[in-house]
Each structure stands twice: as structure tokens, then as C-alpha cells.
């Protein structure tokens, strides 16, 4: 895995994004630069992998930069954020700083300003985050548990933080019990989940463990997210344990794996006739998109059935702003969106890579 810092740039001007990308790639720390013109996609990208820095424009005609900032700051407290704007008025600067932005910049114009701007970026990149779980820094326990549950794994997750040890017991993707000090069950789970830093270790699953947690995983994680929000402000006491006892390659959801394919802009997977998608990445209104995909596929399937054209294989839809491929397999649907810059002729090949990851 690359040690290079990752920078995500959000700006509505594609030309400017390309310029930033060219310039920032040459910084001394040689960061990996990712760009997007879409706020929702920026959040999805931040969700999918760990970034060191987000550079975002505050004034974009179709996205409210402040709204993005509010979401990002809440969901990724450790992420460094640099806000830029062509006109930086005091009120905007104050508002941006109040949202937890690390630095505000007016878009640099002169050579000197550009140099200073890059120096600032380099200095932000040098500041390393101190929280998170060792090995998977900046990943919360919620993320780790979510991965195990999605993959329907059986394991025991041992968490060590500030000298206290705890365990979360997962069987076939379901959380069956937890222990933290003298506590067990739901209370122990809540305590554990609110830990922000420490180390973890995967132990073999304990099949004979008595089940004390009966809530659904989704419900538990939702409650946990609330607990984390409540404790974020007060919890500053834990110190990471010195001994990191284990590491493990995180198993990733198919949509996230698909999103890493070069040129992929968004992904949606679902089922025909289902009211909403099973999962999506980089989609603003997944329910609406799923509905449209489902209707379109059914429209053409019934045509194929009526005139004996054989099975519907794919539907390719090309536009100047987006390129989409719909793929069906029995009742399952896959929709892959590709960036406008991707050549139409290469899309069928890219689609093969996407399909390979379709579970």
C-alpha cells in the first residue's frame, strides 16, 4: 500500500481541477491527487478511502461548499480541510473556520501566492493524525465492525485502549455479545464503540459464546453512531496502546472495489422490482436512479421477450456529461457510471472489470 498522502480536490471547474492536479502532484511529498466536481461524490470518496487532505471550493454554483464542509467535518473529524474561494469575504472566512476548516485561502493569483499556497498544503500534509485504530488509522471501530458484518464473517474483535481491554463477538456477520471490563452485552458494546483510538486484534470466533445482544447489526451501529457523536467532544483521555498486535487487510464492499476502477464515476447495484438499491457509491439520489434503471430494464426485457430477441445483455447510454452501462443478471441489476472523459470504445472493457467484482 502506498505511503503517499492522498489529496481530494472538490471544485466545480474541471479545467481548474486539472491544473491543481498537475501542480500538486509535484509537491515534495508527491501526493496522490483525486478530483471531483460533485459534493456527494466527494463524501463517497472520503468514505471509501483515507485521505490526508480535502481541498474544497466554497463557492460553487451547484453545490454549497459549506454544506459539504459541515458533512465532511462531522463524518471525518481527522481530515485536514483547506477551503478556497475566488472571493474570500470575512463573513465566509469566519463561517468556514467555525465549521472546523484548517485553512482558508483566496484562490492564489500571483506566483508568490501560488508558492505560499503550496507551502501551506505541504505543511498540512506533514501534520499526522494521532487518533484512529492502529493499522487502519482514521477508521473507527464502526467501520471495522461494519466490514465484518457485511462480509458475514465470524470473528472476535479484541480492542485495547488506554490499558483497558474489550471484545466484540461476531458470528456469521451478527454481533452476539461484547465485553468491556466488567460490562457485557449492549452496554459493553456501546462503551467499546465510543473508543476513538487504540489497537485491535482479530481472534478466532467463539461459537459457544452465549448470545447477549439481540438487536440487529444496523440498529446497533446506528445507536453506536449516536453515542460517538455524543462523546466526541468529551472523550480526550484514551492513549493508544503501544503494542499493535495484529493487522488484517480490510475486506471491502463490491461497490467500493468497483469505484476504484479507473474511469468509474458511480456505481449502483440492486434488484428488479425492489423499491430501492442494495448499495451504491457516488450517487446523489440512488432511489430515483434505481427506479429509472429498473423501469428501463423491464421495458427492454419485455420487448426482447415479445419479439424473441434473446436475453438482454447490456444497455449502454452515452452522453456528453455521463456514460452509463446497465447490466442485468436474472433479477439483479448493476449500473456503472463512467466519467465523461472516458472514451466510449474503452467502456465495454472497463465494464468487464466492474462485472468481475459484481457479487
Amino acid at each position: 500500500m502506498s505511503d503517499k498522502p492522498k489529496i481530494l480536490i472538490l471544485d466545480d471547474e474541471e479545467d481548474l481541477l486539472a491544473t491543481y492536479k498537475d501542480l500538486l502532484t509535484n509537491l515534495p511529498s508527491k501526493p496522490e491527487i483525486y478530483t471531483t466536481t460533485n459534493g456527494a461524490r466527494a463524501v463517497a470518496m472520503l468514505d471509501a478511502e483515507q485521505f490526508s487532505l480535502l481541498i474544497t471550493d466554497l463557492h460553487m454554483p451547484e453545490i454549497d461548499g459549506f454544506q459539504v464542509l459541515a458533512i465532511v467535518r462531522r463524518r471525518f473529524p481527522e481530515l485536514k480541510i483547506l477551503a478556497i474561494s475566488s472571493v474570500l469575504e470575512e463573513q465566509y472566512r469566519a463561517r468556514a473556520y467555525s465549521l472546523g476548516v484548517d485553512m482558508c485561502w483566496q484562490k492564489p493569483g500571483t506566483e508568490n501566492e501560488i508558492k505560499m499556497f503550496f507551502d501551506c498544503i505541504e505543511s498540512l500534509l506533514e501534520e499526522r493524525p494521532s487518533e484512529g485504530f492502529r493499522g487502519i488509522q482514521n477508521k473507527s471501530l464502526v467501520d471495522l465492525i461494519q466490514l465484518e458484518c457485511i462480509c458475514r464473517n465470524s470473528t472476535t474483535l479484541k480492542v485495547i485502549s488506554g490499558g483497558i481491554e474489550g471484545k466484540i463477538y461476531i458470528l456469521d456477520g451478527e454481533i452476539i455479545d461484547a465485553e468491556f471490563g466488567n460490562l457485557t452485552g449492549d452496554i459493553a458494546f456501546k462503551k467499546l464503540i465510543s473508543l476513538k483510538k487504540g489497537s485491535f486484534e482479530y481472534l478466532p470466533a467463539v461459537t459457544e459464546r452465549e448470545r447477549k445482544i439481540f438487536s440487529s447489526t444496523d440498529g446497533l451501529l446506528l445507536d453506536a453512531a449516536q453515542t460517538i457523536d455524543e462523546t466526541t467532544a468529551e472523550d480526550k483521555s484514551e492513549v493508544p496502546d503501544a503494542s499493535e498486535t495484529g493487522d488484517r487487510t480490510a475486506l471491502v464492499k463490491p461497490v467500493i472495489a468497483m469505484s476504484k476502477i479507473d474511469g468509474v464515476d458511480f456505481i449502483l447495484i440492486g434488484e428488479l422490482k425492489s423499491p430501492q438499491p442494495s448499495d451504491s457509491w457516488g450517487v446523489d439520489d440512488s432511489k430515483n436512479l434505481h427506479k429509472w434503471i429498473s423501469n428501463t430494464v423491464q421495458l427492454w426485457r419485455s420487448f426482447g421477450d415479445k419479439f424473441l430477441c434473446g436475453e438482454l445483455k447490456d444497455i449502454f447510454l452515452y452522453g456528453h456529461h455521463c456514460k452509463v452501462v446497465l447490466k442485468t443478471k436474472e433479477n439483479k441489476l448493476l449500473c456503472a457510471g463512467f466519467k465523461a472523459t472516458v472514451n466510449n470504445e474503452t467502456i465495454p472493457n472497463l465494464m468487464k472489470d466492474v462485472i468481475a467484482l459484481w457479487v
Partner: protein, 95 residues
Amino acid sequence: MGLTKAKKDQSIKLIITKPGSFTVDANGNILSSTLPLSVPDKFIEIIIHNVLETFLTARASGLIFEEVIIQFIGLKIVAREMRGGALIHLTPLKP
């Protein structure tokens, strides 16, 4: 496996045996066509309806497309949007 495939192939009936194209306006009226008259009207009617519907519903969902390719095992439909109408190419495929 082989049997399933054979069964699937048998269910494909090629309505057109040679490629052909036609243009339609936004109301679905055919303006010009290279398809033989033997091609059933219903077949063309449904293609026109589905193509225009696909462009229209996509637009309503915020997706603007200029070209749609629908690929069946036995038929490929390529449609290019033209001011609410379309230029539609039909190519029979050998299953």
C-alpha cells in the same frame, strides 16, 4: 449447461435478417427508413416507443444521453437522439 444454451438459442427468432436504419421525429413518426416493408409494424412501433421513452425518462432523472445501445443476444439496437426524435440502427446478431 449446453442444453440450457441450446434451449435459449432456439427461443431467438430473428425478425430482421439484415441491418437497417430509420429516423423518427419526436412524435414517433418514421421520416425515412432502409428497413424492408416485411418488418412488422408492431416491432418497429415498440422499438420507437421504447427508445423515445428511454431518452425521455433518463432526462427526467437528470441524465442526458445522446446515444443508447441496447444489446440482446440476437439483436443490437443503436439509437442516437435527434431533437426529441432519433436515428435508430438495427443489427441482427448471430446467437
